[in-house]
Amino acid sequence: MSSLTPPERAAPALLDRLRSLPATWACVALGTAAIGIYYLLPSHAQSVLYVLIGLASVGAISVGTIRNLPIADRPAWRLFAAGLLMEVVGDAIYGVYELELNREPPLPSIADVFYLGGYPLLALGIILILRRLGGQTSRAAILDSIVIFCAVLLVQWVFFIEPYRHTTFASESQRITAMAYPLADVLLLVGLAQLVLGPGGRTAAYRLLLASIGLWVVADEIYGLNVNGYQAGSWLDALWLASYVLWAAAALHSSVGRLALPERRQLPRLTAARLTLLAAALLLGPSISLFERLHRGRTHVYVIAPVSAAIGMLVLLRLAGLVRSVERARRSERLARREAEQAQQLLAHQNDQLVELDTLKDEFVSSVSHELRTPLTSISGYVELLIEDEQNEEKRGYLTIVDRNAQRLLGLVSDLLFTARLQDGRLELERSDVDFAEVVRHAVESARPRAETLSIELVLESDDEAVVSGEPARLGQLLDNLVSNAIKFTPQGGRVLVRLTRVAGLARVEVSDTGIGIPGEEREKLFERFFRSQAALERQIQGTGLGLYISKAIVDAHGGRIGVTSREGHGTTFVVELPANA
C-alpha cells in the first residue's frame, strides 16, 4: 500500500465519501427496517426473513469487497463472506427444521457443523486483516496476544465451557457440541481484542467491523449463559441480525480500503489501553475466584491458579522487555550524547583554529603587501625623480619603462591583496551616490594615453546621466579593468568603444573591442580566479588572471550583472548592468 501516492489517497477522499455514503446508509437503514419488521412477523416468516437478512449481508459484503478493495486486501473479506454464509446456511437448516418439522433440530445436527465451521473462517479473516495492518510480529505484540488468549480462555472456560461438564446431556457428543460454541467464541474474542488494540487506522469501516464482531460475540455469550432460556424470535436475534447488517455496512464503506492501511504503524508501545489490558489480565484470576466464592460457593482453583500464574509470568516478561528496551534506549542516548559532546568540542576547537588561521592569513597578506610596497615606493619614487631630471630622450624612455613595470608590479600586489580579502567573502562597500557617467569618463580618459601609444581608437559614447549607489573607488577599478583589458587584447589600429546607456532602471556599460575574441568554451571560465585565455598565453599578453574575477566580485557586490559576448577574430563585448538611482 505504500506505493500509493498521497494525491491518490487524499484527493478523491471527498468523492469517495459522497459515493459510498448512500450505500452504507442504505444498508444500515434497510437493515434496521428489516430487523423491525422481523419482530412484527409470525414465527415461520421470521425464519425466512432471518435467512434473507443473512444472505443480503453476505451479498453486500461480496459487492463491497469487489467495489472498494484492491485485490491484495480482498481475501480477508471473502473469508468474512464465506464465514457468514456458513452461519446463514446453519440458520436455513435451523429454519427448515422449525418450519417443516415443527421442532428444533437435534444436537448435534448438520446445522451445528455449519455454525461452528463459520467461526474459523471469520477468525482467519481477522488474522489476515491484522497481518495487513502489520506491527503484530514484535515480541511484545506476541506476548500481549498470548495474555489476551489466556484471559479469554480462562473466562470462557470458567463461565461457559466448564458448566457443561455438570449439565446433563443425552450423549457425550451433545456435550462436546455445546462446549464447542464458547470455544469457538474464544477465536472471535481474541481477534476482536487484537483489532481493538491493533495499529490500524480508525476509519468508519474499521469501527463498523469492530461493532459487528462485538455484537456477534456479545449475542453468543448471552446465549451461552442461558442456553435453555433462548427461544427463536427473542430479542437476542436482533444482536445477530445487527451484526450481519453492520458487517455488510463496513464492507460497503469506502474507507474499508484504508482500514488495512498501516496509518498508525508503530511497535505496540505500552499505551494506557495496553496497560489497562495487562492489569485486567492480572486481576482476572483473583476476581473470578472471589466471584465464584461469593456466588457459587466453589472455585475452579485448578484452572484459575495455573492460568493466573501463566498470565502473571507473561506480564512479567512483557514488563522485563519494556525495562530492557528503556535501558537500551537510555544507553544509546548516553552514547549519542557523548558523541555529540565530542563532536561539539571538536567543532569548537576547529572553529577556534579557523578563526586563528583567518587572522594569521589576514596579517600575512597585509604584511606581504606592506613589505612589497615599501621597496616599490623607493623604486617608483626615484625613477619618477630621474624621469623629471633626465634630458636625454632615449634614457627617459628607458626610465619610463622601469616606471611602468613598477606600476604593474604595484597593480599586481593590489590585486593579490584584494583577491585574498575576497576569498574571505568580504567585500564591504562604502556606498554613496556615484556619478557613474563621470566614473566611466574618467576611466576612458585615463586609458587614452596608452590607447594612443598603441594606435587604438578609443571612443566614448555617453549621452545619459546615471547615478549609482556604490563605492567610487571600486567602480573606478571595475571600469579601469574592463577598458585596459579591451586595449590589451586589441591589435594596433583597432577600435575600443565604451558606451553608457540607461535601460529600465539600470546603468548599462558596454566595452567592445575589435580584438582576437574569446572561444565559447573559455567564456564560462572567464570570471574564475587566475584564469588566462589560451590566446593570452600564446601571444604573451601580460596579466594575472585576476582582473575579471575582481570585476565580477565588484559587480556582484553592487547587485549588478556582468556578461560577455564574443566572436572569435572579430571582437568581444563586455556588458555591465548596475541598478541605477536616477
Partner: protein
C-alpha cells in the same frame, strides 16, 4: 634659519625618508628628518615644525603612537600630520583619520599628490 616652513619627516626606511625630504625641499620647504618614532617626537618638541609626515610602521614608536602623543600635548596639538603608509586597506585609512591625522597617503605615493596635500594643509597655493 630660513623663512621656509619647517616640515618633520619620519620614516625608518632611509631611502624613502630621503625621497620624501627631497620632494618637500624641492617644493620649497625646510625638512627635519627622523629615523624612528622617538626621534620624530623629540624633533617635534625641539624644532616645532608646522607639519609632520609620519610613516606608520616605525620602530620604538609607531606613527599612531607619535600622533597620539602630539595630540595629547597642548603645545603640539595643532600640528598638521600626514600619515604615509604602505598599509593600504580601507580600515588602515579609517584608523589613521580616526586617530587624528589630517591626511592619510598610501605608499607608493606620487610626488605631486604629496606636495599638493602639504600645500593644501598649510593653506598655500601652488
Amino acid at each position: 634659519m630660513t623663512d621656509r616652513p619647517l616640515i618633520l619627516c619620519a620614516d625608518d626606511d632611509e631611502d624613502i625618508l630621503a625621497l620624501v625630504a627631497l620632494r618637500l625641499e624641492r617644493a620649497g620647504y625646510e625638512v627635519v628628518r627622523a629615523i624612528d618614532g622617538d626621534a620624530a617626537l623629540a624633533a617635534a618638541r625641539t624644532r616645532r615644525p608646522v607639519l609632520a609626515v609620519l610613516d606608520v610602521m616605525m620602530p620604538r614608536r609607531t606613527g599612531y603612537e607619535v600622533l597620539a602623543e602630539l595630540r595629547a600635548d597642548p603645545e603640539l596639538r595643532e600640528l598638521k600630520v600626514i600619515l604615509l603608509s604602505a598599509r593600504v586597506q580601507e580600515s588602515d585609512h579609517d584608523r589613521g583619520i580616526a586617530a587624528g591625522a589630517d591626511a592619510y597617503l598610501a605608499k607608493p605615493f606620487k610626488a605631486p599628490d604629496l606636495v599638493a596635500k602639504v600645500h593644501e594643509l598649510l593653506g598655500r597655493t601652488i
